[in-house]
């Protein structure tokens, strides 16, 4: 009898929820149908291992959307952000992208922030023919699949690529740091990390340097002392650690405590305020990264952006926020030039992006949908990033 009653109650509740949900989805889809807004789906890492990236990027995107809408929108239509969280997981990212396209019926996709999660969404965007722009995924094969030597037609990005980033750091260690031998320490579960390491190694070796050891760790590892103890015995002149901030912070701290004092270097994956907290500010001295922009840049466009960002979020934007902002504007620029929300027209307009003036510099897309733009090398001093050099492609 009890069971019976419970069962009825549960069924009733479920029915109610289903009806409620059906009502909801109906109303959104009819809104989409009338087409008074342009829907931008963001597939970002709002929780999980690299949550700092996704959240920062979403801030950048929201700031851009706010500005665009204040200026009257695009072709008379306002932008609407539909944000979804992929939890920093590849399998979630595929699902999030699918959901944004099929359920929320977005016109364009932005995201994901890191290469692995972006890869997971590339197929979805290509198959469903929805233009997708990742603000910050730097792995080479995201836009151009080297294995099939086929261009991913609907996939674009707003940042430079890993092979450029690895090359910049290899040149920097050979010319500016005068290093002859290096150790490469890779996050083996990350496409991004492997991509950077590959181009670093080939450039560094071609310039007469020697990579004396290549070691690996995995995302979420916490203890690196065993491998660091061995690296110490090899006496390298630089250590290249192209990983993400959470592990890199611990690696730097443990290395410095162990008495490894040589320069350590990485890419834009280091760029999060948490790095200094985890590594300890003084341990970060003598470390260098390649990045998309420097907050010390005096370019008026950069200064204006930083002011606007600060007044809205009360913090200095990192590269992820800037790229989110640039990515949104790049997409808006393409929609404006396409003159409609027709997905194929947007795609063609994106591919023809030329002389787009972003905060991170002038962007023109090459035939592989990759921007040709400058990188900066930043040095950490007492936990703060300081501008070191700017490298043109």
């Amino acid at each position: 009898m009890m069971m019976g009653k419970k069962f009825i109650a549960v069924t009733a509740a479920l029915t109610l929820t289903t009806v409620g949900l059906a009502g909801c989805s109906k109303s959104t889809s009819s809104e989409g149908g009338s087409g008074d807004t342009i829907k931008v789906g963001t597939n970002l890492e709002l929780t999980g291992a690299v949550a700092a990236f996704g959240q920062s990027q979403l801030n950048g995107i929201n700031l851009a959307v706010e500005e665009i809408n204040k200026a009257g929108g695009i072709n008379g239509k306002k932008l609407e952000v539909i944000s979804a969280d992929n939890a920093s997981k590849k399998e979630e990212s595929t699902r999030t992208a699918t959901k944004l396209i099929t359920q929320d019926k977005v016109d364009v996709l932005l995201g994901a922030a890191i290469s692995g999660d972006t890869f997971a969404a590339v197929e979805v965007a290509n198959n469903k023919k929805v233009p997708m722009l990742t603000p910050s995924a730097t792995n080479d094969s995201i836009t151009f699949d080297a294995k099939k030597s086929k261009l991913n037609e609907y996939v674009f990005r707003a940042c430079f690529i890993d092979s450029f980033q690895g090359k910049v750091m290899a040149d920097f260690s050979a010319k500016n740091l005068k290093a002859k031998n290096a150790v490469v320490y890779i996050d083996n579960s990350s496409d991004y990390s492997k991509g950077l390491a590959k181009s670093f190694t080939s450039t560094f070796t071609a310039g007469g340097g020697k990579v004396v050891a290549e070691e690996s760790y995995q995302t979420k590892d916490t203890d690196f002392k065993a491998v660091l103890t061995r690296i110490k015995t090899l006496n390298p002149e630089v250590i290249f650690v192209p990983g993400y901030y959470e592990e890199v912070g611990k690696i730097i701290k443990q290395a410095r405590e162990m008495g490894i004092k040589v320069p350590m270097m990485g890419g834009d994956g280091w760029d999060a305020p948490e790095l200094a907290q985890i590594a300890g500010a003084e341990n970060l001295n003598n470390t260098f990264i390649s990045n998309h922009y420097s907050s010390e840049d005096k370019d008026p466009k950069v200064v204006k952006f930083i002011d606007n960002f600060k007044s809205k979020y009360n913090s200095v934007p990192d590269a992820m926020a800037v790229l989110g902002y640039d990515g949104m504007y790049m997409m808006a620029d393409a929609i404006k030039r396409a003159g409609s929300t027709d997905k194929e027209k947007i795609k063609d307009a994106l591919a023809n992006t030329k002389d787009f003036e972003g905060v991170t510099g002038k962007i023109a897309l090459d035939k592989n949908h990759d921007p040709v733009k400058a990188a900066v090398v930043l040095e950490y001093k007492d936990g703060k990033q300081t501008f070191n050099t700017k490298v043109q492609p």
Binding site: D223, K225, E274
Partner: protein, 295 residues
């Protein structure tokens, strides 16, 4: 490969291993008494680490943070047991196991909701001093503290289980719950005490872990929890000294594998391979006996 190098790697291994052992103590104790693999243990561990984080931010020292985290986690453990496991006392074991996994997800996601998903840096509450032993071999104060805390807590635990009245009750409940109840032992409060002690150990481990690897996040307990579970099985789950030996062994093997050039990715593969081998030849773990005196 010099002698110094080997000693240094051994020290590295023991310092990771003692963390595994500390977490494994709680696992093994709860299993020993009520035969439940408490998958929420790794998440109680994260609650302990966060308690330590807030205590340290408020300016408390290591000892006070540690005690506070143990109290908070002990209470949390009792609440979990009362709300989630007690209603299932007579249910099949698989039901309780799945509930434990559910509790684990619940804690993780509550943590993400209320504390945020991002890793936070842990304040430096112990001044780290390096001691150079001989050659280039370095051991730091935190590595020593972790090992000492682990050994002390293990000894205390061993004392409680074998020398006190509540310990006697625990062993009786472990041996035969129904018979213990007939003998007038309050089974429910005995089990609650088991959870309180086990979870307090997880809390202590959380603080020590955060001191050693200075960052905390709500999902930090998953991997160490899993490793500690393996350590407990390796030593013989349910046997307290087994947790210590299993943890140290796992730590030393992992470090050993990584210290060989080009093998840094084989760490988990070799560690789990050894686990499989031990379980094939000694299914009850290193310290397990066929007719076990349970805890």
């Amino acid at each position: 490969m010099t002698f110094d190098y080997i000693v240094q790697q051994l020290i590295n291994g023991i310092s990771i291993g003692s963390i595994y052992a500390l977490i494994a103590l709680g696992y093994t104790m709860v299993y020993g008494i009520i035969k439940l693999i408490n998958f929420a243990h790794g998440d109680v561990f994260f609650v302990g680490a966060y308690t330590g984080y807030f205590a340290a931010k408020a300016g408390l020292g290591l000892i006070l943070s540690l005690v506070l985290a143990m109290v908070v986690c002990g209470v949390l453990g009792v609440i979990i047991e009362r709300l989630a496991y007690k209603p299932l006392r007579n249910a099949a074991r698989i039901v309780i196991l799945i509930t434990a996994i559910g509790v684990s997800f619940l804690l993780e996601n509550l943590g993400i909701t209320f504390l945020g998903p991002q890793a936070q840096g842990f304040p430096e509450i112990v001044k780290k001093t390096d001691f150079t032993l001989f050659g280039g071999v370095v051991i730091d104060s935190i590595q020593i503290i972790v090992l000492v805390v682990t050994v002390i807590l293990m000894a205390v635990l061993q004392y409680i289980v074998h020398r006190t009245k509540i310990g006697k009750a625990m062993r009786a409940v472990s041996y035969d719950m129904e018979a213990a109840r007939l003998m007038g032992i309050n089974v429910d409060s005995t089990i609650s005490a088991t959870f309180a002690i086990g979870s307090a150990l997880a809390g202590a481990a959380g603080v020590v872990f955060a001191v050693m690897y200075p960052s905390v996040d709500p999902l930090m307990g998953i991997i160490p929890g899993l490793k500690a579970f393996i350590a407990a099985v390796l030593g013989g789950i349910g046997i307290i000294p087994g947790a210590l030996v299993g943890g140290l062994l796992l730590g030393v093997v992992e470090t050993g594998v990584q210290s060989i050039p080009g093998m840094s990715l084989w760490r988990d593969g070799v560690a789990f391979g050894i686990l499989i081998l031990i379980l094939i030849f000694k299914p009850t773990g290193l310290f397990g006996k066929n007719v076990r005196e349970k805890v």
